[in-house]
Symmetry: C2
């Protein structure tokens, strides 16, 4: 593992020379990459130089050592959380984002109930993908902005804690990501890897399980791209001294039946009560099993799944969820009484226009419809409405007749429902023959 | 010729989409490129987005139509000079820059003396290359910042005028060039072409002769790269409605024997008096002949050279130089009495360390030595010393013995001469056998 920190910097090439070097396909030394990130932070490299470098990286790539150097430089641009006071292995999960992905909310307490500490730093929704923080904030009183000391204390006391990225965690990643977002340099594997890992490494974890989403509603549209990303994350994460594994999971259709913040939190808590849609349960159990194995609490997948099922059956996982929610200022009664998560009052039904089988539900279209309803945001500074959302009543494979309820939409006021209803209806593909559905877990990478 | 102007803009793709499109190798419509330049001007595109786009262009290129659109967008970002009041064909020359290239100062009056008007907008030195404006300003009182009206009046009255780029000529080019300079996106043929032509088209010219320098002291190191640049300039300039031709000229060694502002202006004026080093005379005559042919005053090279020689021999060219200098506030007596161009007082001699033939003089090293002496600048806002400079006494091919004077350096104070003397001496390659020298004019492109 590299240990380059800003104080070690002694670059012999200038910022412009380093841009030119990457432009020309040269490898940069770890110290040089650390210098660029540091120079951006202190104003010795302008944003317009960083974006030129990022575009050069888009074309020329970064090898694993360069990617690790970028990861560590962004990590060390801010503070790291010290979880030395928490005994045992600390494991987190990262998802590359999808529609209806509420898994973290059940997963963290579930894995913690099995004895593996989960210090989780999550994000907010942007564009068609939702964010765990927005979903958690549907819980009355729940605070996602805690001090590092509060975070460490709750992880130690409860076994898990779920917070937002603070301004002092990997600030260079935040700045570089904002630049990538407006310069068409997001879709670049080594930059994605460094961005994900710099934040996750700041959590003080020992191991990381990746949920790389694949499909229409995901960032990675093909399994091959998803594998490439998963493998790069595993290689670079391993270089940085962490145990890392990855699952590739299907994101052609939304995960579960709920899309929207309160609705999704309800659904995640359903899983802790032994219920929940099959795909959400499968996703939670598969990722949880990986985390228990990496965390040293299970000897294999079967053992891990047995432990997880027991933690649900005994109510231990739900109790951890209650304690975590209470410790973070939220109303713990939502765990048992999920109606306390307020859903918007105006229900509008979307019906099947004809008979057949639901063969696909366009996750991207559903995600964008939820954003249009106010459940998500198109700019980072927009507020979200926790109550609005979509319930899917006919998942892929369902047989419908004309008029069958495909989905229910929950609005504050139904007056503007018409265009959204149309979009949601259009997201459902209905055909005469039943679909060949891909499994939820498409692959596993280690 | 395209006629896209800002008022015609109606882009259907956003700035980020246009960056992504170029990144992915797509052609942009002329309107889209015009939109980007306009968006940069009005703040709808940030500098950090432009630099990402420029780096994408570095990798994916621009075709001739895109390059023309960029040229015209930058041209229309500012005002264009109206020379409608000047009768006849207006022709200018552009050099891609080198060391000791003082040709413009003799060329403009010489061509004007033959009846072709020369409205010339020149630049300042930066890095190892000198700039015509700095050299002209060695003439006491000479003003290079004139109003467009003054410029047009002097071109009409005298036949030529030499000014600097004003803030309102192609301001978008100025801004984009400044960004390219610090983001390793200078070395990109279509961007070079658009930058050169946008400024030259603003002069109100009908035809343009290009002096594309090739070699160690030039921007283009190989003849093949120089040909590519020349051909692109000719194609795009022709698309934009101008007659364009190009000479490729040798810039392995400095042009002439003088490097430094006052020294170079002296040397250029020597040419108008019928003297001057052979290579400077040849460069001036070759470019002048191209200009007379494009300007319709000569039927071919031989005819043109005869006209140019006559204008020198009769003193007509020198008289035009005097009138131009006087019209621009300078002391016209420098044309005949070139000692009035003040050279720094402290002369330090550089001698040959051994016997042999001078086989090469590294123009880049000589240019940088002149900058170190104060004759040039490394940043655009630095002042220059017009008096300091270098005289080369042994050009490539010269036979020297140990102690032969290779060059004389002129300093304000000789106390800091030692490191420069060493650099200048090291710039001379001396070998036992005489060199095979390339001709000055390496090729002609039309």
């Amino acid at each position: 593992m590299l240990t380059i920190r800003p104080v070690d910097l002694a670059p012999s090439r200038s910022v412009v020379e380093l841009i030119a070097a990457k432009r020309d396909g040269q490898r940069l030394a770890a110290e040089e990459i650390a210098y660029l990130v540091s120079a951006l932070s202190i104003g010795a490299m302008a944003d317009y130089q960083m974006t030129a470098w990022l575009m050069a990286v888009f074309f020329q790539g970064l090898d694993d050592e360069e990617t690790e150097a970028l990861t560590l430089a962004m990590l060390h641009s801010g503070r790291t959380l010290d979880l030395g006071s928490v005994p045992g292995t600390k494991v987190d999960k990262h998802s590359t984002g999808g529609v209806g992905d509420k898994v973290s909310i059940a997963l963290a307490p579930l894995v913690a109930a099995c004895g593996v500490a989960v210090p989780m730093v999550s994000g907010r929704g942007l564009g068609h993908t939702g964010g765990t923080l927005d979903k958690l904030e549907a819980i009355p009183g729940f605070r996602t902005q805690l001090t590092p000391d509060e975070f460490a204390r709750i992880v130690a006391d409860v076994g898990c804690c779920m917070i937002g990225q603070t301004a002092d965690i990997a600030p260079a990643d935040k700045r570089i990501y904002a630049l990538r977002d407006v310069t068409a340099t997001v879709e670049c594997i080594p930059l994605i890897v460094a961005s994900i890992l710099s934040k996750k490494l700041a959590e003080g974890i020992d191991a990381l399980v990746l949920d790389v989403k694949v499909g229409r509603g995901a960032f990675m549209k093909s399994e091959s791209d998803a594998r490439t990303l998963a493998d790069a994350l595993i290689r670079v994460g391993t270089r940085a001294g962490k145990r890392v594994s990855a699952l590739l999971t299907n994101m052609d259709a939304p995960l579960g039946v709920a899309v929207g913040n309160a609705l999704e939190t309800r659904e995640a808590l359903d899983v802790l009560a032994g219920g929940g849609p099959a795909d959400v349960v499968e996703c939670t159990m598969s990722l949880g099993a990986e985390m228990l194995v990496l965390g040293g609490k299970a000897i294999g997948d079967e053992h891990a799944r047995a432990l997880l099922s027991a933690a649900i059956g005994s109510g231990a996982a739900a109790r951890i969820a209650e304690r975590m929610i209470e410790a973070q200022g939220g109303d713990p009664r939502v765990v048992c009484d999920r109606e306390r998560l307020a859903v918007a009052p105006e229900e509008v039904v979307v019906r099947a226009p004809r008979e057949g089988y639901v063969v696909a539900i366009d996750a991207l279209a559903i995600g964008l419809a939820a954003v249009a309803m106010g459940a998500g945001r198109t700019r980072a500074d927009q507020p979200v409405d926790h109550g609005v959302g979509i319930c899917i009543d006919a998942k892929p494979g369902a047989r419908v007749t004309r008029g069958t309820v495909l989905a229910r939409l929950f609005f504050r006021a139904a007056s503007h429902a018409a265009p959204v209803v149309e979009r949601v209806q259009a997201a459902f593909s209905i055909a005469e023959t039943p679909p060949l559905l891909r499994p939820l877990v498409l692959g596993r990478r280690t």
